[in-house]
C-alpha cells in the first residue's frame, strides 16, 4: 500500500527527476519452487528444467525492487528449450560428428586427432563469446521494469571476436593480460547495454585492478606449489597400496601412519589449500566488482558496490556447500544469495528522470541462451 503512494507521489511532478533506490525484498515460495522443479524435472527426463529455471528467475527478479517497483522476468521456458534444441542440432551434433568422422577415417592417427580437437576447441572458444553475449541480451530483453525492457545494441559476433583473440593473450602473457581483458570486455558489453532507449556507460581502464591481480597471481603460484607438495605426500598412497596388496610387506604401525597421513592430506590439507585459493580469488574478484560498478553509470545514476573479500568468501563457500549437500536441488537458494548479496551491497546514487525513459525499439530474440546453456556459462 505504501509502495503505491511512494511511487506515485513524484508523478505529481511530471518529468521530474527522482532519487533511485535498489532493494532486495524477499518473498516466500522459493523452497516449494525448488522442490517442485526437482520433481518435475526428474519425471520429464530433464525437459521441464527449462520451465523450472524460468520460474526461479521470475521469482528472484520480482524480489529486486528498483525505486519500489519490482523487476519482472518475462522469458519463457519454451524459448530456453528451443534455444537449447537448436544449438544441439546446429552446433553440438556437427562438432561431435566431425570428431567421430575423423576417428573413423584416421583411427589411431594422433596428428589428425589433435588437429580435429584443436579445430573444435577454436570454434568453441569463439562460440563461447557468442553465447555470453546472446545470453546477456536475452536476459536484458526479458527484464521488464515499469513496462520497459532492456537490450544489448551491439553484435554478438563482434563481441565474440574480441573475446576470442583476447583469450589467446592470456597464455602468452602468463595471465597478466587478465585484468585488461576483463575490463575491455566488460567495458564493451556495458557500453552496449541499454534500458529502454538509453545506454549504460562504462569508463575506466584496467590499471587500478593490477595491485589486487598481483596478489591473486602470486597467491596462485603459492597455492600451486602447496598443492604439488600435498599431492606428493598423497603419492605415498601408492606405497600403501603396495603394502596392502602385498601383505608380507605390511608392517602394521607404519601402514596406519601412512593411511592417517593420506586422510589428513585429503580431508584437511587440500581443502585448506582450496580455501586459500578462494581467498586469493576473492581479493581480486571483490576489487573487480567494486571497480566495475564504480565505472558504470546509467543516465545520471552512478553505481557503487561494496563487496569485501571476507563476505565474498562467505558467499561462495556457502553456495558451494548449499549446492553440494542438496545435489543441486537448492540451487535457487544459492542464486538468491548471490542476487541478494549484489542488491544489498550496491548503492545507486543520483536522480533518474524516469518519465523520459522510452520503450526499447530493439528486436527481440526469439529464442534464448542455447549456447550459454551448452557451455554452462553461469549459474542462472
Amino acid at each position: 500500500m505504501t509502495n503505491i503512494s511512494d511511487a506515485t507521489t513524484p508523478t505529481g511532478v511530471p518529468g521530474g527527476p527522482q532519487p533511485v533506490s535498489l532493494e532486495y525484498v524477499p518473498q516466500p515460495g522459493l523452497g516449494g519452487l525448488a522442490i517442485k522443479n526437482f520433481l518435475l524435472t526428474v519425471i520429464t527426463l530433464g525437459i521441464y528444467s527449462f520451465w523450472g529455471k524460468t520460474n526461479v528467475r521470475r521469482h528472484l527478479w520480482s524480489c529486486i525492487h528498483l525505486m519500489d517497483e519490482p523487476l519482472e522476468y518475462t522469458g519463457t521456458g519454451k524459448e530456453l528449450f528451443l534455444g537449447m534444441l537448436i544449438v544441439s542440432l546446429i552446433i553440438v551434433v556437427p562438432l561431435a560428428a566431425l570428431q567421430f568422422a575423423i576417428g573413423i577415417m584416421f583411427p589411431g592417427d594422433l596428428v589428425a586427432e589433435a588437429v580435429a580437437q584443436g579445430l573444435v576447441l577454436v570454434v568453441l572458444i569463439y562460440l563461447i563469446g557468442v553465447g555470453i553475449y546472446r545470453a546477456r541480451r536475452y536476459r536484458l530483453s526479458r527484464t521488464v521494469w515499469r513496462g520497459i525492457r532492456g537490450t544489448l545494441s551491439g553484435s554478438p559476433w563482434a563481441y565474440a571476436w574480441s573475446n576470442f583473440w583476447m583469450t589467446f593473450t592470456l597464455p602468452l602473457s602468463l595471465l597478466w593480460t587478465y585484468p585488461w581483458v576483463r575490463t575491455r570486455l566488460n567495458s564493451r558489453i556495458t557500453n552496449e547495454m541499454e534500458f529502454g532507449t538509453r545506454p549504460f556507460a562504462f569508463s575506466g581502464g584496467a590499471g587500478p585492478l593490477y595491485t589486487r591481480f598481483a596478489v591473486l597471481w602470486i597467491g596462485g603460484i603459492i597455492t600451486l606449489v602447496l598443492m604439488y607438495v600435498a599431492l606428493s605426500l598423497a603419492g605415498l598412497g601408492a606405497v600403501i597400496e603396495i603394502m596392502l596388496t602385498d601383505p608380507e610387506g605390511l608392517e602394521g604401525t607404519n601402514a596406519y601412519f601412512l593411511i592417517g597421513l593420506l586422510f589428513i592430506v585429503f580431508l584437511v590439507v587440500i581443502p585448506f589449500i582450496s580455501l586459500l585459493m578462494a581467498m586469493f580469488r576473492a581479493v581480486y574478484v571483490s576489487g573487480e566488482m567494486n571497480y566495475f560498478a564504480a565505472c558504470t553509470s546509467y543516465d545520471s545514476v552512478q553505481f557503487k558496490m561494496n563487496a569485501t573479500t571476507g563476505s565474498l568468501i562467505g558467499l561462495v563457500v556457502g553456495n558451494f556447500f548449499i549446492v553440494l549437500f542438496t545435489l543441486g536441488i537448492a540451487m535457487p537458494f544459492a542464486q538468491q544469495r548471490l542476487i541478494r548479496y549484489v542488491c544489498n551491497r550496491m548503492t545507486l546514487t543520483g536522480v533518474l528522470n524516469v518519465d523520459a525513459i522510452q520503450q526499447s525499439q530493439a528486436q527481440l530474440d526469439r529464442r534464448g541462451e542455447g549456447l550459454a546453456e551448452a557451455f554452462d556459462i553461469d549459474a542462472f
Binding site: I4, W51, E72, F100, M105, I148
Partner: protein, 382 residues
C-alpha cells in the same frame, strides 16, 4: 457476481511506451476493464485476453497485462479488484495456472518419450545402414584400430608354412563368395580359445583355437561362421551403434565434453556382443558356406562338443568376458550342435590336407620376432 459492474479502484498504469507511472482509475465492468487517467482512457482490456504473470489470488495485489499491449502493466492493490477480475477472467486463477502446469508437464513427458523413441529407432536401425555404406578403407582402418586394442602385446603368428596352409583354407572356403578378397584371416597367440570378426573383413583366430580343434574342418567351420559376421557387417554395425550412444550422451549432456575419439570407442568393445539374431544369421551363413564348398560339418560339431566339455555350456559372461566370445554368447551350444547334426549329409573333401593341417597347428610356434611387427593387413590375403 460479488462486485457491482461499475465499481472503480485506484491503480498504477504503465503504458509500455515509457516508464512513466500513470495514477489511474480502474473500472471493473461486466465485459471489459477500463483504465483512465482523468478524462483520458488509457486502456480498455477484455477479460478473456488478460494475462497475469503470476497466478491471481483473491484479496491480493493484482498485476496484469493484456495480449493487445504486452508491455503495459496495471498494478492494483485494492483487494476487491482481484476478486472482481477473478470472477470474470477465470484463466488467471491459481487453479487454471495449475492446470496449465499439468498440461506442460504432460507435454514435456510426451516430448521426452518422442526423443527416447527417436533415439531408440536411430540406434536400432541406422547403424546397419551406416555400416553398409561405409567405404572399405574406413572399415579396414577401423578394424586395424580395434585389433590394436584387442590383442594388446600378443604375438601375431607368422609361421611361414602355417600361413600357407591358412591361406589355402581361406581360399577354399571363400571360393564361392561374392568378394573372396575381403576376408583376411589372422592368427594371434591369444590366451583363450576364441575367434572374432572385426570391421573391414578382418577375422582373428587364436592359436589356442587351432590347437583345440581336432581337425581342419573345425577351424574351417569357425572361419565360415566369422565370415558370416563379416558379410552381415555385424562388427561395423556394433561399433557405429556404440559411437551413436556416445554421441547421444554428449548431446544430452549439452556438449560439455566433446573429446571422445576412436580410442574411447575401441574401449567400448566390452559392449560388443552380438545379438542372438546376429549369431543365428552367421550360423546360417556358415552352413551355406560349408555346403557350397563341400566342407563337412562334423569337424565343427566335434569342436563345439569339445568346447562344451571343456568350458561348459555357459550362456553369458565368463573369464574371457571382455572379448567377443564365440562360445559364450547365445544361442547355446546344444542348440547349435543339434542344428548341425540335423543337416543332411553333402558330398565333401578334406578342407586342407594332413601336411597342411600339421603346418597350421604349428603356426604360432615358429616365426621370427621381426615378422611379429608386421602390420596385420600385409600378412595374409593373396
Amino acid at each position: 457476481m460479488r462486485s457491482e459492474p461499475s465499481k472503480t479502484y485506484d491503480g498504477l498504469f504503465y503504458d509500455g511506451e515509457s516508464a512513466k507511472a500513470h495514477e489511474a482509475v480502474v473500472r471493473c465492468s461486466t465485459t471489459v476493464i477500463v483504465v483512465s487517467e482523468g478524462a483520458n482512457v488509457l486502456a480498455t482490456w477484455s477479460y478473456a485476453d488478460l494475462i497475469s504473470p503470476d497466478p491471481l489470488s483473491a484479496g491480493r495485489r493484482a498485476r496484469l497485462t493484456h495480449v493487445s499491449a504486452p508491455y503495459a502493466r496495471l498494478v492494483v492493490e485494492d483487494r476487491g479488484f482481484s476478486e472482481c477480475v477473478l470472477d470474470r477472467a477465470p484463466q488467471l486463477s491459481k487453479r487454471a495456472h495449475n492446470l496449465q502446469t499439468l498440461k506442460l508437464v504432460m507435454g514435456c513427458m510426451a516430448v521426452a518419450a518422442v526423443f527416447a523413441g527417436i533415439a531408440f529407432l536411430l540406434l536400432t536401425f541406422a547403424p546397419r545402414t551406416v555400416a553398409s555404406v561405409m567405404p572399405d578403407e574406413w572399415r579396414l582402418s577401423l578394424g586395424n584400430q580395434v585389433i590394436k586394442t584387442l590383442v594388446g602385446k600378443r604375438k601375431l603368428c607368422t609361421g611361414p608354412a602355417g600361413l600357407h596352409a591358412l591361406e589355402a583354407m581361406r581360399k577354399r572356403i571363400s571360393a564361392h563368395e561374392a568378394n573372396p578378397g575381403q576376408f583376411q584371416v589372422l592368427v594371434y597367440d591369444l590366451a583363450i580359445v576364441n575367434a572374432f570378426a572385426l570391421p573391414g573383413g578382418l577375422i582373428v583366430i587364436s592359436g589356442k583355437l587351432i590347437e583345440a580343434a581336432s581337425g581342419p574342418e573345425g577351424v574351417a567351420g569357425v572361419l565360415a561362421h566369422e565370415m558370416g559376421h563379416v558379410i552381415e557387417r555385424d562388427s561395423e554395425t556394433q561399433l557405429v551403434r556404440a559411437m551413436g550412444i556416445s554421441l547421444l550422451q554428449q548431446v544430452m549432456l549439452g556438449g560439455g565434453q566433446i573429446s571422445d575419439s576412436i580410442g574411447g570407442v575401441a574401449g567400448l568393445l566390452a559392449l560388443l556382443t552380438y545379438t542372438r539374431e546376429a549369431e543365428r544369421r552367421a550360423d546360417v551363413h556358415a552352413q551355406r558356406i560349408m555346403q557350397a564348398t563341400g566342407v563337412q560339418p562334423d569337424g565343427l560339431i566335434k569342436f563345439f562338443e569339445f568346447v562344451k566339455d571343456k568350458y561348459g555350456s555357459k550362456s553369458d559372461d565368463d573369464d574371457g568376458g571382455s572379448l567377443l566370445n564365440l562360445f559364450s554368447t547365445h544361442p547355446g551350444l546344444d542348440e547349435r550342435i543339434g542344428k548341425l547334426k540335423a543337416l543332411p549329409k553333402w558330398p565333401s573333401t578334406p578342407v586342407i590336407n594332413q601336411t597342411q593341417w600339421t603346418d597350421l597347428k604349428s603356426i604360432c610356434s615358429s616365426g621370427t620376432p621381426k615378422e611379429e611387427k608386421k602390420s596385420p593387413d600385409s600378412t595374409t590375403n593373396g
